[in-house]
């Protein structure tokens, strides 16, 4: 098959339009049905399934178009399109995972023992290329001894991923992000610090509020929904843990802290 760059570009526009549609519908669903948790999560499951069908069409089409392609410029565009599509699929999986975790009973049923250090390494590894691309130095500090916790693995993964993606979004190129895992008696603590745009004192108390985004955050990243930190803290609280944030103000970076109990 012979496709021009214009055609490919049109495909890219389609993906971008789809992203926008997903954002609008997703947020609408989130609010519209918030009064009834069960109905909301059932509805999310249906919407997720509906989203995955066109995403499958996009992924499989890209795969077919790229197969046997020798033009490196086109291959790169196909790869980027596939990355966008995969990212949307990941979002649907995260939504699906969160919907299945709704309520403490759902969480408890899916508790398992796992290495928190191992999970952190897995998440940072998956995000490394994004940090490199933005020229942000990502460092992690994990104790040598293996720290295992009993929790919902997908939920904790979502929290760590959210903390890191947040730091990535709001740190300027050339900046640095540090993740530290600590294990004081009776709990584990994950700290993600950055030297990014920081948070004004007046905004700190709202940072975990649903759909809240600071003015500076909206300027630096226009695509955010403002629900990631809200959901992350909800998951932490389902585990009888919590999330907090500290910042010395605008332009002075921020530190997000996850605390989980460890009996």
């Amino acid at each position: 098959m012979n496709f021009s760059l214009e055609t490919i570009s049109n495909n890219a526009s389609f993906v971008i339009a789809l992203v926008a549609l997903l954002a609008v519908v997703g947020v609408a669903v989130f609010y519209k049905l918030r009064s009834n948790d069960l109905r909301r999560y059932e509805f999310i499951s249906i919407i997720v399934h509906k989203f995955r069908n066109p995403l499958t069409q996009i992924k499989w089409s890209i795969n077919e178009l790229r197969s046997g392609e020798t033009n490196q410029e086109k291959i790169q565009i196909f790869n980027e399109l596939e990355n966008s599509s995969d990212k949307l699929v990941e979002m649907t999986s995260a939504l699906m995972g969160l919907s299945s975790m709704s309520g403490s009973s759902g969480l408890t049923k899916r508790f398992e023992e796992f290495s928190l250090g191992g999970l952190i390494k897995e998440v940072t590894q998956s995000l490394n290329s994004l940090f490199s691309k933005k020229q942000i130095d990502l460092s992690i500090s994990i104790p040598n001894e293996d720290i295992t916790i009993k929790a919902n693995k997908e939920g904790i993964k979502f929290i760590i991923q959210t903390m890191l993606e947040n730091a990535l979004a709001y740190t300027l190129p050339g900046g640095r992000v540090e993740l530290t895992l600590e294990h004081p008696v009776g709990k584990v603590v994950v700290l993600v610090s950055d030297n990014g745009i920081g948070i004004e004192t007046k905004d700190l108390r709202n940072i975990f509020t649903r759909s809240f985004r600071t003015k500076a955050a909206k300027e630096i990243d226009t695509n955010g929904f403002g629900i990631g930190l809200y959901l992350a803290r909800s998951v932490a609280r389902h585990h009888e843990g919590d999330m907090t944030v500290s910042s010395e103000g605008s332009g002075k970076g921020a530190t997000f802290k996850l605390v989980l109990p460890k009996p």
Partner: protein, 156 residues
């Protein structure tokens, strides 16, 4: 919350390698094998038909369960690939009927759906599915590879 698209390595050496891998996986042969595929999305079915033409297998595509079951019973394919959400009979019901029939119960079945909750996977496996894949997370080459694996496993 940032939702930056994840980037992949795009160095030309990696791209070349990816091209070779693509071509290698496209070259998987299912020569002489008969596969029944139940999928109601025509767009996906067309892609799959083109993909499978390169594997030299005989692909029988159906968009609903009744006709598919008739063909499975008469054609006795080497493997069945089943979507779950279908018009009329759903994929779980089709799977149950395949496994209830002594003639067809040993035919390996791969569930390929965009439902991917643990409860869906558990249900599919408890009904006798050999493998469960989520459509949006796999490329057609991986599906071909999985069919090959299932056929090889069943041969042993």
């Amino acid at each position: 919350m940032a939702q930056d698209p994840k980037s992949k390595e795009t160095a030309s050496s990696l791209q070349s390698l990816e091209g070779e891998i693509n071509q290698a996986s496209s070259a998987i042969s299912l020569d002489g094998k008969k596969i029944v595929w139940v999928e109601d999305d025509n767009f996906l079915a067309n892609i799959i038909t083109r993909k499978f033409s390169a594997t030299k297998c005989k692909l029988l595509h159906f968009s609903e369960g009744t006709e598919a079951l008739k063909a499975i019973s008469t054609e006795l394919p080497d493997a069945v690939v089943l979507d779950i959400l279908l018009p009329g009979m759903d994929g779980f019901e089709i799977l149950s009927k395949i496994k209830e029939d002594p003639k067809t119960k040993n035919i390996p079945v791969i569930m390929l759906s965009n439902l991917g909750q643990p409860s869906d996977i558990k249900k599919g496996k408890s009904l006798g599915a050999d493998h469960f894949m989520v459509k949006a997370t796999v490329a057609p080459d991986e599906i071909v590879g999985q069919i090959k694996d299932v056929l090889d496993k069943n041969k042993k």
